[in-house]
């Protein structure tokens, strides 16, 4: 863009004179670009490292669980259409006994070949070596680190009721467990309390009573799209039917892959929406600033044109302001993005076991970041540029017509108006006579407030969900999981454990529910009537009543299946005899757990062809924390595959909230605050530049600087009060929209917006506004008001 030397110098000086205002705008743009560059960068880094990891370690496209599949049958599985490769392996729930840990830890054992060779769901050895003998294991790296285990250590592992003393020979990571959720619940991995062990294939087969056979088929597909797998898996299930197929899981539903994909999708959405909001606000505010600049430089524009500068040259001159702000915002944004990328990857490394995630170089993203920043900023100057281009030189040389004395809306209420102090009259007239500027101010406050309200409500929502799950619904101190359902008389034996106060049985059964063409796999919880230790609640906080017969379905599940109370659906349990039976829908309740279903434990037992039986026991102890003796006794009971203390799960989630949520909230609040600050500051500076003369007059009349600032602050106060009020409503709305967008099969996030949070949001906003006004106050104090009065505008 060619520009005349003199104009370039004028540009530089004008920019310098407005450095505070332009920096505030560049800051907003920089935040937008930073989020864009940083989050999309993180997204690419994680996506490429995931894809590399999945490819290199042959992440399976599907898994089929069955009772017992002979090695010979694996061959035939591989011949099902769309199946590219199939391998058998053994998977088994185990209990790991670590010295120094009170309760045995749940774990999953998986088979690996005795001699290392490439397999599906291969493991990446982080330390140590491959198996050299029988009683050896490789443990997953995060578990080893969290529990300070290393090759050469020995651990006690309970495999099918027989305890083995295993030598750890190595630690490893696997594409299968990038995000390893503990069976105890919650949203975050807990490597200290849940581990995966890899054992030599033959040893595990023998220990699992599966000599020469497997209980899982993992495979690759030619086409691993959702649709293709959805078509292929039933065929595969049919092929393996005779081996007792329990379930098949496509990669999209594999928990770790699912969670990771979900996280990547969210990153992408955020990285596209937030920058647009930030850059749009920056552009709108810039519009206000540029329109004022051109008005202020009216005679300069006229003189330039009179001297023979073309309208195009003048337009280019004013466009250049936008380009400079855009470039400044863009380059600061790129730097911010690089920092954000590093910080986010650091955080992700704590939760995602993904080898080789590092910040990549994304030149195209940087260019895009710079490009959108300049683009928005240039769009922000267009109004001013058009005004400058349109000014006829003769008109421009004359001062602008005086401000029109026009009545504004509030003056239609004369009684009220008459009572207002003049400062409010000034403020209200300024607001109503500059509708565009006022709207931008309200919009910026609205956006900042709604972001803050949304963030705070998200935190409260997650805290509420945790409380709901671990405090309001669950009251037990300890949960014991059994491998297979057993008659509920077994309960008495647990109730007699030292320190046990009461115990209740539960029966957890994974079932396929079918109604017409709709089918869903869900976990059905069988509860005893009048259960006190575990009381599901609906969204209004009322306990869910368990009927004698029939199922209670969560709202979301009922919608997915298209059933209503009274309908009869087909139920196929994935344990026991796995026969299809008919079950009536007794009631539909609105709960947070999306696909939840409940039934009376005896009724559910009959559905799976058993007498009243249980595979989970919840117990309360006298000490709240189960005693060592209680846990020790449990260790010796056969069939126990998990012991979880409720307090431990709660602590772990609490820890995560304190660590990462606080930082995220802080960052977003600062981001939101920057919008408010930048917008308020610029609006105030524009107002000051228009009304410098009023400042002079007021000072002469004996107004102290503080009083003058007070008069200017009223305009800001009124606009921001409106913006904050609307922003609170918008923020609550946003929280509801996001919550229903997250209304996945997993859970539904509660929308909790406590009045204190709204007060917090309003106070934060007040803080940002006060900060901007403080800068205005300095400007007013240092304004040379005597000179301002000497010249006629």
């Amino acid at each position: 863009m060619a520009m005349h030397r003199a104009l370039a110098r004028k540009l530089a000086r004008d920019l310098w004179a407005r450095k505070g205002s332009l920096l505030a705008l560049a800051l907003i743009a920089a935040l937008g670009v930073g989020v864009f560059v940083g989050m999309l960068g993180v997204n690419r880094d994680m996506r490429s490292s995931r894809d590399r990891y999945y490819a290199e370690y042959r992440m399976a496209d599907f898994t089929v669980d069955a009772k017992r599949i002979p090695a010979s049958a694996i061959e035939s599985a591989a011949r099902v259409p769309n199946v590219r490769a199939a391998e058998g392996r053994v998977q088994m729930g185990v209990l790991i006994d670590l010295p120094g840990r009170r309760e045995p830890l749940p774990g999953t054992a998986l088979s690996q070949p005795e001699e290392r060779r490439p397999v599906l769901n291969d493991i990446f050895l982080r330390s140590g070596a491959w198996f050299g003998g029988r009683d050896e294991c490789i443990v997953n790296h995060a578990f080893a680190e969290a529990n300070r285990l290393k090759p050469g250590d020995r651990i006690k592992v309970l495999l099918l009721d027989k305890q083995h003393d295993l030598l750890i020979v190595g630690t490893a990571m696997s594409p299968e467990f990038v995000y390893l959720l503990p069976p105890a619940g919650g949203f975050v991995p807990d490597p200290q309390s849940y581990g995966v062990l890899y054992l030599p294939e033959r040893f595990l087969q023998e220990s699992a009573d599966l000599q020469g056979a497997y209980n899982q088929v993992v495979g690759l597909a030619h086409d691993n799209s959702k649709e293709a797998l959805r078509a292929a898996l039933p065929l595969l299930e049919a092929r393996l039917e005779s081996y007792g197929v329990v379930q098949s899981t496509p990669i999209h539903e594999q928990p770790s892959a699912w969670f990771l994909a979900d996280e990547l999708k969210q990153q992408e959405t955020t990285a596209r929406i937030l920058p647009v909001i930030f850059l749009a606000v920056a552009a709108l505010v810039l519009n206000v600033v540029m329109a004022r600049l051109v008005t202020q430089q009216r005679t300069v524009v006229g003189t330039l044109k009179a001297l023979g500068y073309s309208s195009a040259a003048v337009s280019r001159h004013f466009l250049a302001y936008g380009v400079v702000v855009g470039l400044l915002g863009g380059s600061c944004g790129i730097a911010l993005g690089a920092w954000l990328e590093g910080a986010m990857l650091e955080m992700y490394r704590d939760y995602f076991e993904l080898p080789g995630i590092r910040a990549g170089r994304h030149l195209d993203l940087l260019l895009w970041g710079l490009g959108i920043s300049v683009g928005f900023a240039v769009a922000g100057t267009l109004k001013g540029v058009r005004n400058a281009a349109r000014l006829a030189p003769a008109d421009a040389m004359r001062p602008p017509p005086p401000e029109k004395g026009r009545r504004v809306l509030p003056e239609r209420f004369p009684r009220l108006w008459a009572r207002l102090p003049f400062a409010w009259k000034m403020a209200l007239r300024a607001i109503f006579r500059n509708p565009f500027r006022s709207s931008v101010g309200v919009l910026a406050a609205l956006i900042s407030t709604s972001l803050i309200v949304y963030v705070l409500s998200m935190v409260d929502g997650m805290k509420f969900m945790t409380r709901h799950e671990f405090v309001d619904v669950a009251h037990q101190d300890v949960t014991v999981t059994l491998r297979d359902p057993r008659g509920t008389e077994a309960l008495s034996e647990f109730a007699a454990l030292p320190g046990a106060r009461e115990a209740e049985p539960q029966l957890h059964v994974a079932c396929d529910l079918t109604y017409g063409a709709a089918r869903r796999r869900v976990g059905v919880q069988g509860l005893a009537k009048g259960s006190l230790l575990y009381t599901p609640l609906d969204r209004s906080g009322q306990p869910v009543a368990i009927p004698d017969a029939g199922l209670v379905l969560g709202q979301r599940l009922a919608e997915v299946l298209g059933v209503k109370a009274g309908d009869v659906l087909e139920l196929r349990p994935l344990i026991g005899r796995r026969e299809r039976v008919r079950a009536a829908v007794a009631e539909i309740v609105d709960t947070y757990i999306g696909l939840g279903a409940y039934a009376e434990i005896g009724y559910l037992s009959r559905l799976i062809g058993e007498e009243r039986s249980a595979n989970v026991l919840v117990a309360r102890t006298y000490t709240r924390e189960p005693s060592a003796a209680f846990i020790d006794e449990l260790r010796e009971r056969p069939g126990v595959v998990g012991v979880t203390r409720r307090s431990r799960s709660l602590e772990r989630i609490q820890e995560t909230f304190d660590q990462s949520l606080g930082v995220m909230v802080g960052i977003l609040v600062v981001f939101a605050g920057s919008i408010a600050f930048g917008s308020v500051l610029n609006a105030a500076l524009v107002a000051l530049s228009e009304r410098q003369r009023d400042v002079g007059t007021l000072r002469v009349l004996g107004y102290a600087p503080r009083q003058v600032t007070g008069i200017f602050a009223k305009e800001s106060l009124a606009l921001n009060a409106l913006g904050v009020a609307l922003g609170i409503v918008a923020g609550i709305g946003l929280a509801h929209v996001v919550s229903s967008a997250y209304n996945t099969d997993l859970y539904r996030l509660a929308v909790i917006v406590g009045p204190m949070r709204l007060v917090t949001a309003a106070l934060l906003m007040a803080g940002f506004v006060v900060l901007a006004q403080a800068i205005l106050h300095l400007e007013i104090r240092h304004l040379n008001w005597l000179d301002v009065l000497k010249v006629k505008e």
């Binding site: 005086p402 009259k425 002079g696 007059t697 002469v700 009349l701 005597l786 000497k790 006629k792």
Partner: protein, 240 residues
């Protein structure tokens, strides 16, 4: 304040100098000015542009401090007053009238008067002040809806409304045609006569000096003449 000073002095400037640093050169606007303004006086200060008359008015009005010398108002030296004290001084004791009126464009005539009233303890009623300048029926008009003379009358009403002891007028007719200018001067004279206000008018226009009982001439930052005018002309009769 010494005992020899006449009791009727409202404000007194003593050997005041004022030097402005204009970039790298220093410009002396006042070079040792002595001026005593008696309580209830009507005084015109005349001088060509650059004579330092605005600077002198600024010192009288507490808008600025002298580089040397003192400005004593009722025993208080304004040269030593803090910003805050000067602000209070302007608020309570001074009414300003400017060449370009300096009304706030977004406020009506009445509201512009209210601006002055809201920060003082015993003001006049704003509407009464407007009535005094004959603009009661224009109270709801914005400055852009008023003629220049009307705007200046609103400014005078505003200056009066805080009930000040001293009315300082900086070229009050400078932006007006002569007929309107005469009306404004007439109004100032009238207020002086009726309300016993002390009025200081500065102007470059010698013709205006004819209306004042006392005229001070200022040239190059020095008082070159200070004379009494035994028979001041009525403002309606002067020609300029």
């Amino acid at each position: 304040m010494s005992d020899e000073e006449p009791r009727s002095a409202l404000i007194e400037v003593r050997s005041a100098t004022k030097v402005f640093a204009m970039g790298e050169v220093e410009v002396a606007a006042l070079r040792g000015v002595d001026l005593r303004v008696g309580d209830g006086e009507f005084l015109v200060i005349v001088g060509p542009s650059g004579s330092g008359k605005s600077t002198l008015l600024n010192l009288l009005g507490g808008l600025d401090r002298p580089t040397q010398g003192s400005v004593v108002f009722q025993g208080h030296d304004l040269a030593k007053a803090s910003d805050r004290e000067l602000t209070l001084y302007r608020r309570r004791e001074i009414g300003f009238v400017f060449q370009f009126f300096n009304l706030i464009p977004s406020l009506t005539a009445l509201e512009n008067v209210q601006v002055a009233v809201e920060v003082v303890a015993d003001p006049l009623d704003p509407l009464e002040a407007l009535t005094m300048v004959g603009l009661a029926e224009r109270a709801g008009h914005f400055p852009s809806q008023l003629s220049g003379g009307e705007q200046q009358r609103v400014a005078i009403a505003r200056a009066l409304a805080s009930n000040p002891r001293l009315l300082l007028c900086d070229e009050p007719t400078g932006a007006l045609d002569s007929a309107t200018g005469r009306q404004v001067l007439g109004l100032l004279w009238d207020l002086h006569a009726r309300l016993k206000k002390t009025v200081v008018v500065i102007t470059h226009n010698r013709a205006i000096a004819a209306i004042a009982p006392r005229v001070v001439e200022l040239v190059d930052g020095r008082v070159t003449a200070d004379r009494a005018n035994a028979s001041p002309a009525p403002p309606s009769e002067i020609v300029y």
